[in-house]
Symmetry: C3
Subunit: 506 residues, 3 copies
């Protein structure tokens, strides 16, 4: 920077930048939030920077409320006067609804809580929170923990395998192990265990002692009893719609062999287009305009976002009930089946009395599941998104293949289940009739992999056209090989072991 | 550029850029294409937006034809007058060669076809289509489906495993399953099954009914009999060279355990450089200038693209015969071997009469494979690309290691094959001599994984220096462990089972 | 931007950018480097382009030396006068320390060496080279090759499995195989085997003949005896700090099932933030400012980089001893344990006399490992980085879970080891007492996977919160299943095989 000319350039350039920049006029910050910022911009500079880059820091609720419906991220029709005139800062969330928060504590003169919950977010985003309440993900903790059959699977995954005694067995997994594995995604139960005083850079301070913390799982049980964490997808403290629309967010929990959605997407044509050209898309625009803002769907496009065409015609309404456009539930359970009607699946009982949405033979337990009409509605909602780029024959061909694959993968799971049932009948393994876990013996673990890994992977590959996940990458090759290996194992147990000993031995 | 002169240049340059920019002056669009756009910008806005962003929408053939040879994407020496003056729009492809299209139908007064084929693309890109015809990928459907040995592998992958009767067996995979797995990449056979009338947002309309649709596999058999789909790599409807040059496109089909090329690339030094710095490269420039446009090779750099140095000297000519710079075929078959001479591999027979390019012992069936001279030519073509950045000793060291790894992985496959042969000889498994599939019993499935997963992975790791895929990520660890497990299985069958029963039992 | 005012701004702004650009005034290049460039910009244009884009090409040492401490990449307090005034070009590295280089050769009148070593880099970066010398990675060659126990693992991975004789056995892996697998990352031993004359585009020239070349492994043994290759992370010839700070660099070697750090990171919340927003971060700024330059940690943030807050307060000092902020060594060995005191681990002997940092039962061999005080110091150094964004209770909760997982994964490894010990005792397998490899029989290979794959993966998942790698992606599910399968295998061997033959048979 030398000389009067460059100074002039710099001046004019800066002026121009400021003039078009949204931060030209500093937006009002509440006094409480300002007090938070005064310390925390020093103490935790990273999250303050995240917040400063957020829409929350750049808009007041009043400004948000006057936008046209399709352009609004806020869904409240009004907010209290003290909120309306300020940006959404630290205090607006961390001091909201103090009575609903058991983790509230006195902090430099303010009543602050650590764990911000969907109930807090509902102040401005009630429709989203309500929709998320219908989302099966909001019940991910209870649906896992309070299902006695599935609880046995947790024992196998997280329990310490004990080798004393005649056969291998499992202990109950401890809380830390659960929080570190299944509940990282499903959500922990966060509880206030008391308060403690710690010496900090600001002197002695009191803080709540939380169990199950940290956690941002989708079905987190919050200290006040509310379910879920908006930060699962809208990462703190930017809470950006951009991140939620990118596939990496979904990939945090939907990437493993049990639910390889992200991997399948990334190997699909859609994923290829995203990876190759997505850096030039507009992930922040509301509503999201097909062809202008993005060129291929991400997870959010098909399952959640408000999508419009270039004329503003709505192709899909925003939803936070993630199965709102999905007729079939294709993973997690033994067989693919129509989605449950209610997000709380612990109420489900099949004819055999098990808390499962199908019989062990695959027959759906219809009274708990959405009916054909609702399935058709959901499929049509999804197809409308497809048809923003694809012709009818393309879309119908794709769905026909997908529903065919649901049938064949269920058949391959049934084939495996029949081997397992024979193992139980013959005593080669101990199953339900003996009151034993159905997930803790060799042949049972093979059976679990049949549906939890291979059939799931094959269905995801079909749903999103990421073919190798339905072929050699945990797909049909393994479904087929696994049936052979289960049959081998059983044949061996039945013929040779029994001959050798004249009695069952495990 | 210093002083007032350069200032003037900059000013005029900016003005000129604005003036020649495609949105400055609208390029001519044919009347038929305009008719397509009038409806489809409403009906399928996504693909219209893709096209509008494409080079096809921003250049007339006449403009393309006058470019210097190295800068041309078009390879025709001339096109018909009616094409020359317009951009390449909907109608230029979807109404081309109407007589060669069995899927042509009357659509709002125009004769339109759904499935655009390489024959259509050849109007402007004849050299690319011709080269692709020599590409083994263009025959990927027939090479898989019409090879009786490999057809058995499809049964294992895609057939329903039947457990009735004394031993597990397979049914034939159905067409939907094949289209959903192997043929997604290999290509389906697309056939016109008739025509149907559907009610659309534009009223009643007639459309062809296609089987094997949708599909964009590399060896797709099109309704008119032509082979392949240019959209496999040049994704509709942008058809961009940028996407084809990025590794995600190849990764759509070359990512699974059977062909982990993408994964190996991404873990290599080259993949690291691409991932870290590729966002600043120029993927659209023709010809592609090493050091200026890109800093490390992608798949296309080594295998397909026209590469020049900064002075315009050609380092590698463009090819659409993907093995044009590859002496060795390192995946898909039992042993690595010199590439086949012809893209149609169904003509190959080894001395044992099998449609395989090697004997079961690994000896190449030379008369069907490229000779040493052609191998040397291909290797030199590849080395010239390497030497744009690497010294001779580096490149030679790399190739020596790779060819050594071809030998050792073939040896480890032979070691596994010898166990299999012994299983067949002793009757522990049913193989060729009994007319049985060689891919459908336990030890045969172990053997398949030896070469299809582990030896392939190890060779890719060596070829592209992504080491863990040759060590613990489906590499040598698994090659070695698998031999032990095959030997264990056979030993058990032979010694104990036979003793227990006094006769073979499977 | 409309109208003459914005045009003026654009114009003046562009002018300003050109005027301050580093290439505005050409920096001085040494005569020798200019001679290199004269040919090599033709012969190897790619690497010349890399260098031209580097900081090395844009700064003289003199300019670097006058920067404030926190902004310096150079750590020498002074350099020789002939270096100070020129940029760091080809000759500054490839002709440095000629006497320490056995690969030095006469090249167009200059004494040039091929293999640039840390000793050369130490001319300007002595602190980094010294720190790297304390880094266990610098000894990665010897720690693997000179450990007699681990050498057996190499035999299993890389040796040819021989099936002649009564049982499977391994040969020694050859040098090419080792260089292509384990030593790709660990580093080869590069040796000068002589000199040869080759015909080049510049006529006949003499070059050294190198074995173990090419290689850039972290513990490469260089011809002059120095250890390591700075180019492992600071990729030639840009040597950019940007690349070293991005996770792809670490991913080159830390991605496989034995050390899935990259994969775990990418599925974590931190990896999600990086993937979603990292393209807008400033990866080149020194020092690296949390919240301004980056919004979530990459590998380098936590383990290596100089991190400051927005006021310039140091949060973490730069280190090239990669375990400087890590109390626990969580991969590669049988049990997680405190990090070794010295980078050369070949000196370690446990009470059983084995070169292992723990007993086979998991007890640490404390005298060779860092003590509790040093562990606390390292943990605190790491926690300070966490606390730039997270509160104390969050960080403590995270570390408590991690250390709990270290305990439980060690316990699950011990459970597997006890089965192995029983197999050795009973003669079902041959282990240490018989002087046999502990890595080459079926049950031993299962045991290796218990800790090398599953326990490692589970610990990484815990350390970086990428949960599925601790659940179904090579995590606890497999740890648990593997123990069952080991017990099955042993039970079978002991009960049935012995009964069938009345004697042990393997």
């Amino acid at each position: 920077m030398k000389g009067p000319v460059s100074l002039l350039v710099l001046l004019l350039g800066s002026f121009f930048l400021l003039w078009v920049s949204p931060s030209w006029a500093q937006l009002p910050v509440s006094d409480v939030t300002q007090a938070c910022l005064d310390c925390h911009s020093q103490v935790t500079p990273g999250i303050v920077a995240d917040w400063k880059a957020s829409v929350h820091a750049k808009t007041t609720s009043a400004q948000a409320l006057v936008k046209p419906r399709l352009e609004r991220a806020i869904s409240a029709s009004q907010v209290t006067e003290n909120l309306a005139g300020v940006v959404v800062g630290c205090a607006e969330c961390h001091t909201a609804n103090p009575k609903a928060h058991r983790d509230t504590f006195e902090h430099n003169g303010f009543q602050v809580h650590v764990v911000v919950t969907p109930r807090d977010c509902a102040t401005c985003h009630p429709l989203e929170v309500e929709g998320y309440g219908r989302n099966i993900m909001s019940h991910a903790y209870g649906n896992l923990i309070n299902n006695p059959v599935y609880h046995n699977l947790l024992d196998t995954v997280g329990g310490f395998r004990d080798l004393n005694g005649p056969r291998a067995s499992y202990g109950e997994p401890d809380a830390q192990t659960m929080a570190d594995s299944c509940l990282y995604c499903h959500g922990t139960k966060v509880e206030v265990k008391g308060f403690e005083t710690r010496v900090t850079s600001m002197g002695e301070m009191k803080f709540p002692v939380l169990s199950g913390w940290p956690n941002q799982g989708v079905g987190r049980v919050n200290p006040g009893g509310s379910l879920g964490s908006c930060a699962s997808c809208h990462t703190r403290h930017a809470f950006s719609i951009e991140m939620a629309r990118k596939p990496y967010t979904c990939g945090e929990c939907h990437k493993g062999p049990d639910v390889p959605a992200y991997k399948v997407y990334m190997v699909s044509k859609h994923g290829n287009i995203y990876s190759s050209t997505g850096k030039d898309w507009n992930f922040g625009h509301i509503p999201w305009v097909v062809g202008e803002d993005f060129r291929a769907p991400t997870c959010a496009t098909c399952h959640a976002s408000l999508i419009v065409d270039g004329k503003g015609n709505v192709i899909a309404e925003r939803t936070h009930q993630m199965n709102d456009r999905s007729p079939w539930r294709i993973f997690g359970l033994i067989y693919a089946h129509p989605h449950p009607r209610a997000p709380d699946t612990t109420i489900i009982r099949n004819r055999a009395g098990l808390p499962l949405p199908t019989e062990l033979t695959g027959k759906p337990v219809s009274q708990y599941l959405v009916d054909a009409q609702e399935m058709a509605r959901r499929r049509e909602a999804m197809e409308r998104v497809c048809m923003a780029c694809h012709a009818t024959s393309w879309v119908r061909g794709q769905f026909a293949r997908f529903e065919h694959t649901i049938k064949t993968t269920n058949a391959m799971t049934l084939a495996a289940t029949q081997i397992l049932l024979k193992a139980w009948e013959t005593g080669a393994a101990s199953g339900l009739a003996r009151g034993d876990s159905i997930f803790n013996e060799t042949i049972e673990e093979m059976w679990v992999e049949q549906w939890l890994f291979y059939a799931n992977s094959t269905r995801f590959a079909s749903a999103m056209a990421g073919a190798d996940y339905g072929a050699f990458a945990n797909g049909r090759w393994f479904m087929s090989k696994n049936i052979r290996q289960m049959a081998d194992w059983l044949q061996f147990r039945l013929r040779y072991l029994k001959k050798a000993e004249g009695s069952r031995d495990k």
